[in-house]
């Protein structure tokens, strides 16, 4: 099963390498990993999506916690949380196809962020299912390039993952 981990780490050089190295060394597979600084500039949040049973998850959590620069690890899978990914898709868009592509973008509340004589770039945010659905619909026009951020997530409501305070 898929798990989403939210990991707070010290915002220091080498920390990303440590986390990535840990995953490859111990044979854990990551689907995606997104990193960015939090409201506290000394701390970054990593959102890691991985596939594995509870045993794997337990090991991953313990090994992450063992890193000196890891401040807190939370499994958001069981929590009420909001999860988002951002994608940009460059599709082949001859003038006569444009309106159809724009309609699809509209349905997914996506935006057109670039238009050239032969292509368009569509930007969308959403959860994984939505992004996958949009991608498969756009395939018929020909996808020239695609960039996805990987998932970021926060728990809903008052609860937060910020042990340090």
């Amino acid at each position: 099963m898929k798990h989403t981990l939210s990991v707070l780490v010290e915002n220091k050089p080498g920390v990303l390498a440590r986390v990535a190295g840990l995953f490859s060394r111990r044979g854990f597979n990551i689907d995606s990993l997104a990193v960015g600084v939090t409201e506290n500039p000394e701390i970054s949040r990593m959102t890691i999506v991985l596939e594995g049973d509870n045993r794997v998850l337990e090991q991953v959590t313990k090994q992450l916690n063992k890193l000196i620069d890891t401040i807190k690890v939370s499994d958001l899978t069981a929590e009420e949380s909001v999860e988002r990914e951002l994608v940009m898709i460059k599709v082949v868009a001859e003038p006569k196809m444009r309106s159809e592509i724009m309609q699809i973008a509209d349905i997914f509340r996506a935006r057109i962020v670039d238009v050239s004589p032969k292509t368009m770039i569509i930007e969308a945010t959403g959860d994984e299912t939505k992004i996958n659905a949009m991608e498969s619909l756009l395939k018929q026009f020909g996808i020239k390039e695609l960039a996805r951020t990987g998932k970021v997530a926060l728990t809903r409501g008052l609860k937060s993952v910020q042990e340090w305070k």
Partner: protein, 558 residues
């Protein structure tokens, strides 16, 4: 008021604050400012002949004394030479701080002369490592490094110091405190789990204590003994747990696992409760996992939560320091009686003792180890890796913690001799003997120069079989005696080699010469090498083949 000093001076000040008495190392271009300051300091610097050995010496020093070992190497090749020693310390949880010189900050990343990304290289084999880019961070970084290396589950920490950081001027002040949000080792066990453990021990019929290196690291031998005696539970140890429980004690089962005693392996297979303390269920211990202790509940006491349920699933996990947790357990235990279980163990011990051919027709390595024990039962024994290591583990009776020092997790040939030097530096009043193989010793024998010139009298007892014996044994048993690349031959002449370095060299070919040779070596007050020409095809038995269950044991016929 903070005083103005160079980074190199600050470095020395920091080491004073951490009570460092000795550094093992080799200088180089990127360390010149630090070595220049060391020259006037009261810290002893022992110049070694290969940086790998600097790390092993720091490691041996740490294991023998319980204090943090320190080694140092220059940038590039000096730093990369440390890598095996650091990995070795990491696998066996040894507190060590390794310092490396680095090219100036302005040149980092340019493939400068003697530049190596040593923090990148040692990422998976250090608890944490640091590249100091600003001299002002130096005092805090060094304080953190010593703190992290020696607390929780100990391990090596590397600090990389560019040359310009060593020469920069800073206002020196050693921080009193620091904040490590992500590092708070749990010392005390959870009271509820401790209660559950006490009940499980009282309820068990056939309990066994399985003790590892963590007991020694935590200085918990007294508590372990009290637990075993109260619970009337026999005690088996891992390789690194040797010395955690006196092997002369009636409840001692010796070592478990691949080359463990038969009775320890049988007891482990039949037990209904394993009380694991500071041990990690390594594959050399468990053998085939599905068949390991099939009827047992497991209590696992360990300071590292990541070890719990890693390979064997645990019913009562207790995260905490062994000493503190054992103290709590002892408080709750009432003396038990278990006549049946203990009787069964006595029978196993009688029926399946460790055996070898004692006829004296050839020189047997097991006999040599027994003689070493007879001559100096209180010695610190270090080992190389291979058959020699296993005989040293099986035939010497360890009764005190920190008396057996061996490369367990990494299995590093060449470890024992530099570790012996480090142990002797830390414990100058102890007799220190490296039980060596002819193959292993040749990996680090150049340190004879270090031992002779610094007057560090350790003895190397080479069990010389002319083979990479342990590999040959596997070839004999599992590869039709096809001895591919395991014959070492008869060169060098180890006595002459020792003499060339200014050490004492003794050759022994007959059983009758063994004892006097050992006596001569350990009383000579010189580094000494004894070349024991042993029976070349002697095997280490009993043996559990890799992948078999630990009660499926190969032993001598008859």
């Amino acid at each position: 008021m903070a005083k103005k000093v160079s980074g190199a001076e600050a470095f020395i000040e920091c080491l004073y604050k951490e009570n460092v008495e000795v550094i093992f190392g080799i200088p180089g271009g990127s360390l010149l400012p630090i070595h220049d300051e060391l020259y006037d300091s009261s810290i002893r610097h022992i110049l070694v002949r290969h940086e790998q050995c600097a790390a092993h010496m720091a490691d041996g020093y740490a294991r023998a004394t319980g204090r943090t070992g320190v080694c140092m190497a220059t940038s590039g090749p000096g730093a990369t030479n440390l890598v095996t020693g650091i990995a070795n310390a990491y696998m066996d949880s040894v507190p060590m701080v390794a310092f490396t010189g680095q090219v100036p900050t302005s040149m980092i990343g340019n493939d400068a002369f003697q530049e190596a990304d040593i923090t990148g290289i040692t990422l998976p084999i250090t608890k944490i490592n640091y590249l100091i880019k600003d001299a002002n961070d130096l005092p805090r970084t060094i304080k953190e490094a010593f703190y992290i290396a020696s607390t929780g589950r100990p391990g090596p920490v590397l600090v990389d110091i560019p040359k310009d950081v060593q020469t920069a001027e800073i206002e020196f002040e050693y921080p009193k405190t620091f904040e490590l949000r992500g590092y708070k080792p749990t010392i005390e066990g959870h009271p509820l789990q401790i209660k559950r453990a006490i009940k499980a021990i009282m309820d068990a019929e056939r309990p066994i204590v399985y003790a590892g290196g963590g007991v020694i690291i935590s200085n918990a031998s007294e508590e372990l003994r009290a637990l075993a005696e109260l619970a009337l539970a026999p005690v088996t140890t891992t390789l690194l747990g040797k010395g955690a429980f006196p092997e002369s004690h009636p409840l001692s089962l010796g070592m478990v696992g691949m080359h463990g005693t038969k009775y320890a392996n049988y007891a482990m297979t039949e037990t209904d409760l394993i009380i694991a303390v500071g041990a990690r269920f390594d594959d050399r211990v468990t053998g085939k996992l599905d068949a390991f202790a099939p009827n047992a509940k497991v209590i696992h006491i360990d300071i590292d939560p990541a070890e719990i349920s890693k390979s064997v699933s645990v019913s009562i996990p207790i995260v905490g320091d062994a000493k503190s947790v054992l103290k709590e357990l002892i408080k709750g235990l009432i003396g038990a009686s278990r006549t049946e279980w203990l009787k069964k163990i006595e029978e196993w011990k009688k029926e399946f003792p460790l055996r070898y051919d004692r006829s004296g027709k050839t020189l047997k390595p097991q006999f040599i180890i027994e003689q070493i024990h007879e001559v100096c039962p209180d010695a610190i024994i270090t080992t190389e890796v291979g058959q020699c290591q296993m005989w040293a583990a099986q035939y010497f009776k360890y009764t005190k913690p920190r008396s057996f020092i061996s490369s367990g997790g990494l299995g590093t040939m060449g470890y024992g001799f530099p570790a012996a030097i480090g142990a002797k530096v830390g414990c100058p009043d102890k007799t220190v003997i490296d039980i060596a193989g002819d193959g292993s010793f040749q990996m680090t024998c150049q340190e004879l120069a270090t031992a002779v010139l610094n007057d560090i009298p350790v003895t190397v007892a080479i069990l010389n079989n002319g083979f990479l014996g342990m590999v040959r044994q596997w070839q004999e048993l599992f590869y039709d005696k096809r001895y591919a690349a395991t014959y070492l031959g008869t060169s060098p002449d180890f006595t002459k080699l020792a003499e060339a370095y200014g050490a004492l060299g003794i050759e022994v070919v007959k059983p009758s010469e063994v004892k006097s040779a050992i006596e001569e070596a350990v009383t000579s007050d010189k580094p000494a090498v004894i070349d024991f020409k042993i029976d070349p095809e002697e095997n280490v038995l009993p043996m559990v083949p890799a992948g078999a269950a630990i009660n499926e044991i190969i032993d001598y016929e008859g």
